[in-house]
């Protein structure tokens, strides 16, 4: 067990080093950071919401979007670089199981996404806090406005987003284990993310009565195979919500995310075990 863990950690360490050296990671990180920072300059726009909410929506939106792009493209690239460059031949000829290899890849990619989420969340938190302090200083002291920015909520959001990206990575790895080309893995992975974002529609439809058994069966399978990625998007409620989110609801989201993550990693390992290198 200890030896297996050590091998996985070495795979994830090398995967992490490889990923952070990629220009693609640096490019998306800089782009997302620029998006977060630029949100302050857009405060002249008014879409009918409060300014802090607009800044939060804009910045966290960038984190959700570019995080997903990074999770799909980078994970597929890290997997296929080992296969196409044939470094996997060298590694898998050693006493390293396919599952250890895949889990190592997962941990390395997840660690990179962890850095991505933490850096952006720290930037976003700083921007929100600074602007809120500025607005509070300008407000009438008699109004006794309470600060809306919630640091604890931001930490919870970081964990939820990291978990959400972990689910995406595990799906992309399962697809990559089956796919023959990088392009196929990226396209199907991206479609899976879109399906996950829209899964709530299938959930709603499933709750409505229908006469078609086939349609009902399709919805039942869809709502279980595809994770609801939308449920992780609680940025407003967690970071700016005055009432916050019920701990029980967050626990359900976390458990659901972990269940999907483990299920897709298991599936990926089973598929990869049969793959010819």
């Amino acid at each position: 067990m200890k030896a297996s863990l050590r091998r996985m950690l070495w795979i994830s360490r090398i995967t992490f080093l490889e990923a952070v050296r990629q220009r693609f990671f640096a490019f998306l990180l800089v782009l997302s950071a620029a998006m977060v920072l630029s949100s302050v300059s857009f405060r002249v726009f008014d879409f009918g919401h409060g300014e802090l909410k607009f800044i939060a929506d804009f910045g966290f939106g960038g984190m959700f979007f570019f995080g997903s792009v990074l999770a799909v493209v980078m994970t597929a690239q890290l997997f296929f670089s080992e296969i196409d460059n044939r470094t996997a031949l060298t590694l898998l000829a050693k006493p390293l199981s396919r599952a250890e290899f895949l889990l190592g890849k997962f941990c390395g990619a997840w660690a990179v996404l962890g850095v991505f989420v933490v850096v952006l969340a720290a930037l976003q938190g700083t921007v929100l806090w600074a602007r809120e302090q500025e607005l509070l200083s300008l407000a009438d002291p008699a109004a006794k406005l309470a600060p809306a920015f919630n640091l604890e909520g931001l930490l919870q959001l970081v964990l939820l987003q990291w978990l959400r990206l972990g689910v995406v990575i595990s799906i992309v790895l399962a697809i990559s284990a089956l796919a023959r080309t990088f392009l196929f893995a990226v396209v199907v992975g991206a479609l899976a993310v879109v399906a996950g974002q829209l899964q709530w529609i299938a959930q709603d439809a499933f709750l409505r009565p229908t006469d078609s058994q086939l349609y009902a069966a399709f919805l039942w399978v869809s709502t279980r195979v595809i994770p609801n990625l939308q449920q992780f998007n609680l940025a407003d409620a967690l970071v700016l919500g005055s009432t916050g989110v019920d701990d029980g609801a967050i626990l359900v989201v976390v458990l659901s995310g972990l269940a999907y993550l483990l299920a897709y990693l298991t599936l990926g390992s089973l598929i990869f075990r049969r793959r010819e290198i």
Partner: protein, 283 residues
């Protein structure tokens, strides 16, 4: 004692295209590779030798047949712990240094933490890569890549080392260096399986050879046995005059023997090259 590698009735079919047409890459191959020898697996491109090695290592599944490594079923973790592998045209992460790569492979191969440093230095020394070990792999020449690949294959002191085209694209000096590493492994009692197109080198370093063609094993045996022509003899004579030659031919004819040809012995171009090009170890 069991063989280093035992292959019995190995067959491998690849399915091609949507219709799933079968391509037989390996066709009922049976092979016993004894321990402690250097074994050469030869054949033209596409004859199935690399596929055979991949099946032995568990990287590709067999359609039929049984394989064991050092008495254990192949593709098991414990069998692979006792095996080292250098793939054809190896590629490694360019951002790692040679020493980091060998350390990484030592960790994956199950070398105990306390022994890793010594194992890494031993492997680098054996591959003559100690001096260049701290350079990143991206700066290595082809010959150095092969040698660092050799180091990662032997860092865990395996009993069996499988080398797939270790001298492909390497100049004769680098090729000779790899030949010396193979000799060193044999002297340590290891079994080396060598897949190569350089027949001259195979002849020099291998104890036994097998030749594959179109997925089938067409010949297998000790190098001396398969190459020797028992009905012919070679004598190397110094200062032979025409008269001496005529007398020798007459004497042989008196005993019913006939001189088939008289030629001057040649050294190989590789030997000549290695004599002239010296001092360079970094191929």
């Amino acid at each position: 004692m069991s063989s280093a590698i035992s292959v019995r009735h190995l067959t491998k079919d690849f399915r091609i295209g949507i219709r799933g047409l079968k391509l037989r890459a390996v066709d009922d191959v049976s092979l016993e590779i004894p321990r402690g020898q250097v074994f050469g697996l030869l054949g033209p491109n596409g004859c199935g030798k690399s596929t055979t090695l991949k099946i032995v290592l568990g990287l590709v599944s067999a359609t039929a047949g049984e394989i064991s490594i050092l008495g254990e079923p192949s593709a098991t973790s414990s069998a692979r712990r006792r095996t080292g592998f250098l793939p054809e045209a190896p590629y490694f992460h360019k951002f790692l240094s040679g020493r980091e790569l060998v350390r990484y492979c030592a960790q994956l191969s199950g070398v105990a933490d306390a022994d890793v440093d010594a194992a890494v230095e031993d492997a680098l020394g054996l591959a003559a890569m100690t001096e260049a070990a701290d350079r990143t792999i991206g700066t290595y020449s082809k010959g150095m890549l092969q040698r660092i690949g050799f180091a990662q294959a032997v860092v865990h002191d395996p009993e069996l080392v499988i080398l797939d085209e270790p001298t492909a694209g390497v100049d004769p000096v680098g090729s000779a260096a790899i030949g010396r590493m193979i000799h060193a492994m044999r002297e340590k009692g290891k079994t080396v399986v060598l897949c190569s197109h350089l027949l001259g080198q195979v002849e020099q370093v291998c104890d036994r050879v097998a030749i594959m063609d179109r997925g089938k094993l067409v010949l297998e045996g000790a190098v001396d046995d398969v190459l020797a022509r028992r009905d012919r003899h070679v004598m190397t004579v110094e200062a032979m005059t025409p008269a001496a030659r005529a007398a020798a031919e007459a004497a042989l004819a008196a005993h019913g023997a006939k001189v088939a040809s008289v030629t001057h012995p040649r050294r190989s171009l590789e030997d000549l090259f290695r004599e002239l090009v010296t001092g360079s170890r970094d191929a």
